[in-house]
């Protein structure tokens, strides 16, 4: 640790450049893999391994620095500002996909239906997989070849909405436990939050299997399939990361980390979890419900 001034300046660190190399290997491997070049998947694996090891080391360093009391109030504020605005950038990432969904539904598909010259007879309804895609099945219709069934909102998706909303409540109870220095409450509710997160993911997988095997709804099912799977898929990825983060925090809680006054690690993950929650609500409304 450098000893000048009050603000903590970390010593030179090899983690960032190694992480960058890992990311490079992952990206290069990915490009080769999707172009069916033999080495691709191995490079991806190598890259992922490097990144995972580095995350353990890097976060491990930060956690031990934090527990050693290295960070003062000002450093804490740097973390807060950057985490808050990082979540903002994540919102903008989802914004791109929501924007695409709205544009498709409000403009692209209706315009496509207006043009009799291009695809005579194409009816612009939502959901649609486009003039050449499979046709969406209407309720009470017997599915024929070249048809797909849209995902219904009031089955698994509604249940998943309940689950995520409850997890938002349980993590708040966990936070209150931490603030009251009641470790039992903290750990119980943190554990419950993780269970709910995993339950959500299991049901999401169930839903995908259902879509692929029974509804003929796939990523390739036109623009409805594309927006459906990309939006819910990226959300699921974020829930997965959020759940891993929750588990890390649980382990830290059980090790006795955090105090009622200083627990930014916990709060950052809680913010992230609420963000994932809100994105889901928007998904439920615009992807599942309003068809």
């Amino acid at each position: 640790m450098s000893s000048h001034g009050s603000y903590y300046l970390p010593d030179p660190s090899p983690y960032p450049v190694i992480t960058s190399a890992g990311l490079f290997s992952l990206a290069l491997g990915f490009v080769l893999w999707i172009n069916e070049v033999a080495l691709g998947s191995w490079l991806m694996l190598l890259g992922a391994a490097i990144i995972i090891v580095m995350m353990f080391r890097w976060f491990g360093t930060v956690v031990s620095e934090s527990e050693a009391g290295t960070y003062d109030k000002q450093v804490d504020f740097s973390f807060r500002w950057s985490m808050a605005w990082f979540i903002f950038s994540e919102i903008m990432f989802f914004g791109a996909f929501f924007g695409a969904l709205f544009y498709i539904r409000m403009f692209a598909v209706p315009w496509l239906g207006d043009t009799e010259l291009l695809w005579p007879g194409f009816e612009a309804d939502w959901p649609t997989a486009g003039p050449e895609g499979p046709i969406a099945l209407q309720p009470h219709e017997v599915p024929g070849p070249g048809q797909f069934t849209p995902m219904a909102a009031w089955g698994i998706p509604a249940l998943n909405t309940l689950i995520l909303l409850s997890s938002g409540v349980t993590i708040t109870f966990a936070h209150w436990g931490l603030l009251k220095d009641n470790r039992g409450q903290l750990i119980t509710f943190q554990f419950l939050t993780i269970v709910l997160g995993i339950l959500f993911l299991v049901l999401q997988v169930e839903e995908y299997v259902h879509a692929y095997t029974e509804l003929d709804l796939t990523l390739k099912a036109g623009v409805y399939g594309a927006t459906f799977f990309m939006l819910t898929g990226f959300h699921g990825l974020h829930v997965t990361m959020g759940t891993i983060m929750l588990i890390v925090i649980l382990v830290r809680c059980m090790k006795g980390h955090f105090t009622p006054q200083r627990h930014f690690g916990f709060e950052a993950v809680a913010w992230y979890w609420h963000f994932v929650d809100v994105v889901w609500l928007l998904l439920f409304v615009f992807v599942y419900w309003f068809l």
């Binding site: 300046l9 960058s20 740097s78 500002w81 903008m92 990432f93 996909f97 544009y103 498709i104 036109g222």
Partner: protein, 522 residues
């Protein structure tokens, strides 16, 4: 204004490990600036290929497919490899010194945002050696053309993802630094304008880089995973790509120019020996420009077939940006008005900026007029316009910034005569290169085509000669910078007689760690 810094022992590893592992804002700033400089020459070499091919009509130097790769990569390299990293480099060096902070707020993250860049550049340029060559659909990678391209397009997409991570991390760090690390007493409305413009730029980065990541992800899945975002047969729309891309793209041009506004607002007062005219209005103008940048994107798409209401909305919004930009130009001119001006190299670049950027701004206003744009769209007029704002705007501001702060960074003065030669050759060759392109565009010469009709020959010859001169002149810049780093007349701490601000209270060169105890600002 402030107390002097306390000097400290410069403990750090030596050799390559110093640069790989550094957490020091000055080291990281240096890395960024050298990376940008190298990319400037790489992108410049591509421009030379383009201008060599366009020296005369017909196809002689390269084949059209390679020409397309050059126009595509020239833009991507210059935007993401040269201009953006150069400004982040300036931010790294200057922001902590200008606000009296010991370093950037998150030093390890800072190192990471830099070291992602060389890897991203490798991906971007590596595409050239892939089967089918590099990306060739233009830097805007519009589908359906970009859905058809070879592996090079995939390399580009992954490079953009990597660059995006770097930019977002860099922006977070700059925001945390500016909001959290200012010296006591340095309120927001006392911050140097370079700091202000970077704060706003950082927000633009956070808002739009993820959107770019999103849209190239859709492109990737359309290419390889069977989605139909941009395919009408599946209910998608190629115009969707253009909307999302330009939602990123227009704020991106302000990401490239706002820090330049900041630099100019530092240089002009110094050499006019007067405070900046209308400081508050400068801050508000910057904010307004940033805000408006989110509601003008479709001015890039006037000919794609938008509803009339859309065309009108985006036309008026675009023209509205001329108001805050006009405020800025007015303030810069008023800063110089009746000042005791001297014309050292940074000042020459700043004045050159004010003149030439304004020309680019006015041609932008012409392009904003929908019926006129129907004529100008995708012609050399557009190329001329954005080189006036990006070369004589952003890049000349970066050059001015380098001359302005290099004596502070190195402790040595550059050679003034050589600096002036560099400025005048750059300014003259720049105009020889790009001014004729206005006429070419108005006469109807399309951009991104390796051949042209005979009547365009003469202006193209001028343009190519100018470009070769402009390229060669930059070798002089490299020579001047290297010579200044190696030695030269010692610079004083204040360096410039009229310079004000915390960075000038530090020794030249500043010690490795500065402002360990924050200075007081009143």
């Amino acid at each position: 204004m402030a107390t002097a810094a306390t000097a400290h022992h410069d403990e750090h590893p030596y050799g390559i490990m110093r640069w790989l592992c550094t957490t020091n804002h000055k080291d990281i700033g240096t890395l960024y600036l050298w990376f940008a400089f190298i990319m400037f020459f790489v992108g410049g070499a591509m421009a030379m290929v383009i201008r060599a091919e366009l020296f005369q009509p017909g196809l002689q130097v390269v084949d059209p497919h390679f020409f397309n790769q050059m126009t595509t990569l020239h833009a991507l390299v210059m935007i993401f490899g040269a201009v953006m990293p150069a400004f982040v480099g300036l931010a790294n060096w200057q922001i902590p010194m200008m606000i009296g902070a010991p370093d950037m707020a998150l030093p390890r993250l800072n190192n990471w945002s830099f070291w992602l860049l060389p890897f991203a550049a490798t991906l971007l340029l590596g595409g050239l050696f892939a089967p089918g060559g590099g990306p060739a659909a233009g830097w805007t990678i519009y589908p359906p053309l970009s859905v058809q391209g070879g592996m090079g397009t995939d390399f580009t997409i992954l490079a953009i993802h990597t660059l995006g991570i770097s930019s977002v991390l860099g922006a977070l760090n700059i925001i945390a630094t500016i909001l959290n690390m200012r010296a006591p007493g340095l309120t927001l409305m006392k911050m140097p304008l370079f700091v202000w413009t970077w704060l706003i730029t950082a927000y633009l980065l956070l808002a739009v880089m993820p959107v770019l990541a999103g849209v190239v992800t859709m492109l990737l899945t359309d290419r390889h995973f069977g989605t139909h975002f941009f395919d009408p047969a599946g209910g998608g729309d190629p115009v969707l790509f253009q909307h999302v891309f330009w939602f990123f793209g227009h704020p991106e041009v302000y990401i490239l120019i706002l820090p330049a506004f900041g630099v100019i607002s530092q240089i002009l007062p110094t050499f006019s020996r007067k405070p900046l005219f209308g400081y508050d209005s400068m801050v508000y103008a910057t904010g307004s420009i940033a805000f408006l940048s989110f509601v003008v994107w479709a001015h890039h798409m006037f000919t794609v077939g938008l509803p009339t209401a859309g065309e009108l909305f985006f036309m008026y919004m675009t023209m509205l940006i001329a108001v805050p930009t006009g405020v800025k130009v007015f303030n810069w001119v008023s800063t110089m008005w009746r000042g005791s001006m001297t014309f050292e190299t940074p000042m020459l670049f700043a004045i050159g900026f004010v003149f030439l950027f304004t020309i680019g701004g006015l041609s932008g206003l012409m392009l904003a007029i929908v019926p006129a744009d129907f004529q100008y769209h995708d012609t050399y007029f557009v190329v001329a316009h954005f080189h006036y704002v990006l070369f004589s705007g952003s890049i000349m501001a970066i050059m001015g910034a380098v001359y302005y702060w290099l004596p502070k960074w190195t402790g040595n003065m550059y050679n003034e005569a050589q600096g002036k030669w560099h400025f005048w050759l750059t300014a003259i060759f720049f105009n020889i290169t790009f001014f004729p392109q206005h006429f070419l565009g108005l006469a109807g010469m399309p951009r991104r085509i390796p051949d042209y009709a005979l009547q365009f020959t003469e202006f193209n010859v001028w343009s190519s000669i100018g470009a070769f001169g402009l390229g060669l002149t930059q070798l002089l810049f490299l020579y001047i910078v290297v010579r200044t780093i190696r030695g030269g007349k010692k610079a004083t701490d204040r360096v410039w007689e009229g310079a004000h601000g915390l960075e000038w209270t530090l020794p030249s060169p500043p010690p490795y760690h500065t402002f360990a105890t924050p200075p007081k600002v009143d």
